[in-house]
């Protein structure tokens, strides 16, 4: 299990940031990802492996009209 924006989310071996974003249907293009406080650049989403117990923050920089 991992935390995503403070809520529990199932984890599996080999899960990448990209996998997680797909599962959560986080389609907004302008987001910031931090794993255990470490910033993950967008070009690293496909490779960055999330570990069991990680604390993932996905910030959507959407502030509306």
């Amino acid at each position: 299990m991992i935390k995503v924006n403070t809520e529990d989310h199932p984890w599996y071996s080999g899960m990448t940031v990209r996998n997680l974003l797909d599962e959560k249907v986080y389609t907004f293009r302008h987001i910031i990802v931090r794993v255990n406080g470490e910033y993950v650049p967008e070009e690293g989403f496909d490779e960055f492996a999330i570990q069991d117990g990680d604390d993932v923050i996905v910030l959507h920089l959407m502030a509306g009209g």
């Binding site: 403070t6 249907v25 302008h30 910031i32 923050i57 910030l59 959507h60 959407m62 509306g64 009209g65």
Partner: protein, 710 residues
């Protein structure tokens, strides 16, 4: 040409550090024209823009004044930063009046050229009071220092015709047309309460007038009630430093940095230069936030038919500059050129449609169950040219549709209109009826609050259901975001001073998706900071979009990326560079809070602005109907289990809806308590004298209003 009823000469004041120091007063009852001094007190307490508007309005009206009282004013001002050409989004005009929908002060804003040209003609603000006995127009010639009031009976009503005719009338040749700006409304503003103000700017590439709208709260209705058909300003000679800024080099430097961001990053971020605010339509649907069929759900598989790509590829002209004031590289005022109208009085004509903005696609599209881009553009055009606020129209029509589909009103009671969700023909006919001032369209133009009363008292509808599904607060219709899963945004809408418009706070992602503000105190802090910060744009004459619809590449490294700290500093730097003051980001918030609290006290003075006025319809807070509950059953069952300790397996659907409702209504009450504390209000929503003193707004006239309410 109509007869000249008044001819007045003046010496245009020179702008110094963003202010002309003069405001213009015109009374159209007796054609009195006066020049007023803009005092140091006004600048200190109200800064400019909406602050000046509200101060003049306060002094013009009494608690008994209603929207159509002669003493009600339309006040407009551009603010001290308005008209600079080195940064994006600097041409906003702020307008305030007592609204026909809410009976309290409404403020709305628009791009277009009118505000800056008005200031450069020598006027920091413009008060319009009284009522003429026949249609007139007012022409301000800023180069020659001349104001004329002219008979205007013979001019057309609808904006696309009227503005084009007046622009040609006052321009000496084609090149001069960019120096003219017209403010007007349209046919529907004469009978409905949703009348808007169109602000024109001439587009020399397309050779036509373009329009931005000050749409909310019925400002166009008030203009036409005063029998003013149009306001026209002409000023030739826009140059980079007409504001006589204290430090033009800083403005240039900040502007260059910002324009580089826009050039480098917009295509990777929000694509404002391609599609404008409608870029978010699919995102909203994918995140369950696109209001669909009267806010019942947050999206629909058919949304793909009205996606940004559809408008970009099939309808909107690309590659032309679309800024609504000089120097705006965001350039988001998109339009569909050569659009062929298929209904109404202009059927068969090809026109330029300004838009669609996000609110248009969401409101006139998804919220009405219409997933047809052509129909949305036609609705968009007619709302604008008829002078109808498309947000109020969309939300009101969605309410009517749901009432009809739930058997609360009949087709016969709607004069034969089959206003079921998705029926674009019926919606367009409703618009045309509004413009003609006839049939059910005339009734619909009164807005949801008045319709609820009529449907209950005359049509026998269920009052409780109508209170739950009628998406209005204080009499103003909600703007187009499904938000029932975001407690913070529920408050952002219903506790907004003028009514549920999102320009005070848009916290849905911070709250619902990012989970950045989990506690009541977190949400209250957000509902303090963001309304105060966003209010500031309206004080100085700026557009909000360049703040956060593009952000610096390293914004993610900041501690509070949602605030876009570098852009906040840009604003501090520009304000100081124009005015010669030396505020910081905290003083910026203080400037805003002075006006924000003033507006709340103003509402209290007019009979609203208390806790009773900040409640939301239950559709805003949670699922009203069985279908709504079932659409998010997994989420709602989980909340019953985890937040309320209940076992949904042992409950029937109606029990689950009732339990969830009790919980959510209690949450909203707790949010109100937290927000009121944070804003320095009593638990009845009244700004306290102590808070007013802290921010330097313990003015005798304000204390006189709040003290009896303590």
């Amino acid at each position: 040409m109509g007869a000249i009823l008044k001819d007045y000469s003046y010496t245009p004041a020179k702008i110094e550090r963003g202010y002309s120091g003069k405001s213009l007063y015109i009374n159209v009852s007796d054609f009195r024209i006066e020049e007023k001094e803009v005092t140091g007190f006004m600048k200190e307490k109200f800064t400019g823009g909406k602050g000046f508007d509200l101060w003049y309005l306060w002094n013009a009206v009494t608690p008994e004044t209603r929207w159509n009282s002669p003493e009600n004013e339309i006040v407009m001002s551009v603010g001290p930063l308005g008209g600079i050409t080195q940064y994006s989004g600097t041409g906003k005009t702020l307008i305030a009046s007592i609204s026909p929908l809410t009976d309290i002060p409404i403020d709305s804003n628009a791009g277009g050229y009118f505000g800056p040209l008005l200031k450069f003609s020598g006027w920091d603000a413009f008060e319009l009071q009284g009522k003429a006995d026949k249609d007139i127009l007012i022409f301000i010639d800023g180069n020659n220092g001349r104001i004329q009031i002219e008979e205007a009976e013979e001019y057309p009503e609808d904006t696309h015709l009227l503005a084009e005719e007046l622009t040609r009338k006052y321009a000496v040749n084609d090149d001069d047309m960019v120096n003219i700006s017209v403010v007007c409304s349209g046919s529907a503003a004469k009978t409905g309460y949703m009348g808007l103000l169109n602000f024109s700017f001439y587009d020399p590439r397309r050779k036509t007038c373009r329009f931005k709208q000050a749409a909310r709260g019925g400002l166009g209705t008030i203009l036409r009630d005063k029998k003013v058909k149009a306001l026209v300003v002409k000023y030739k000679g826009i140059t980079p430093n007409l504001n006589n800024a204290a430090d033009i080099s800083t403005i240039n430097k900040v502007g260059v940095k910002y324009h580089k961001e826009m050039h480098d990053l917009d295509s990777k971020q929000n694509k404002m230069r391609q599609i404008g605010t409608a870029n978010t339509v699919m995102i909203m649907s994918q995140y369950d936030l696109l209001p669909t069929r009267n806010f019942q759900t947050g999206g629909d598989p058919e949304t793909v038919k009205i996606s940004p790509e559809v408008f970009i590829n099939e309808w909107l002209t690309q590659g032309l500059h679309d800024g609504c004031w000089y120097g705006c590289t965001m350039s988001c005022a998109k339009c569909a050129d050569h659009f062929l109208l298929t209904t109404g009085p202009y059927a068969g004509e090809r026109v330029t449609v300004d838009g669609p903005e996000y609110e248009c696609v969401a409101g006139l599209g998804a919220n009405l169950g219409i997933f047809d881009p052509q129909a949305i553009l036609e609705e968009n055009f007619y709302c604008d040219t008829y002078g109808i606020d498309l947000i109020s129209f969309a939300t009101c029509t969605a309410f009517i549709m749901e009432c009809y589909q739930r058997g609360q009103i009949t087709q016969e009671q709607m004069g034969g209109l089959d206003l079921k969700f998705g029926n674009k023909d019926a919606v367009l006919e409703l618009l045309h009826q509004m413009a003609r001032g006839e049939g059910f369209g005339k009734l619909a133009g009164l807005g949801i609050r008045k319709l609820k009363k009529i449907f209950v008292e005359e049509f026998g509808a269920n009052p409780d259901l109508l209170e739950d599904i009628g998406m209005e607060v204080k009499g103003l219709e909600y703007s187009e975001y499904a938000h029932k899963e975001s407690l913070a945004q529920q408050g952002g809408f219903a506790m907004a001073t003028k009514g549920p418009q999102h320009d005070e706070a848009w916290l849905i992602f911070m709250d619902m998706v990012n989970k950045q503000i989990p506690t009541f105190e977190d949400k209250a802090n957000a509902l303090y900071y963001f309304p105060m910060f966003r209010t500031w744009f309206g004080l100085v004459g700026l557009c909000k979009l360049p703040w956060n619809d593009i952000v610096p590449a390293d914004n993610h490294k900041t501690s509070e990326p949602a605030k876009v700290p570098e852009h906040v500093q840009n604003y501090v730097d520009i304000f100081n560079a124009v005015t010669g003051q030396s505020i910081d980001k905290d003083e910026l918030i203080l400037q805003s809070e002075r006006v924000y609290q003033f507006q709340r006290v103003f509402s209290v003075r007019m009979g609203k602005g208390e806790r009773k006025d900040d409640y939301a319809p239950y559709r805003s807070l949670g699922p009203v109907s069985r279908e709504e509950y079932l659409s998010r059953q997994e989420l709602y069952d989980k909340q019953l289990r985890e937040l309320q300790g209940l076992d949904p397996e042992t409950m029937n659907l109606d029990e689950k809806i009732a339990k969830l409702r009790a919980y959510r209504e209690d949450q909203y009450e707790q949010l109100m308590d937290a927000v009121y504390r944070r804003r320095g209000w009593t638990m009845n929503g009244i700004p306290t004298p102590e808070r007013l003193k802290e921010i330097g707004m313990d003015l005798p006239e304000l204390l006189e209003v709040v003290e009896p309410k303590l």
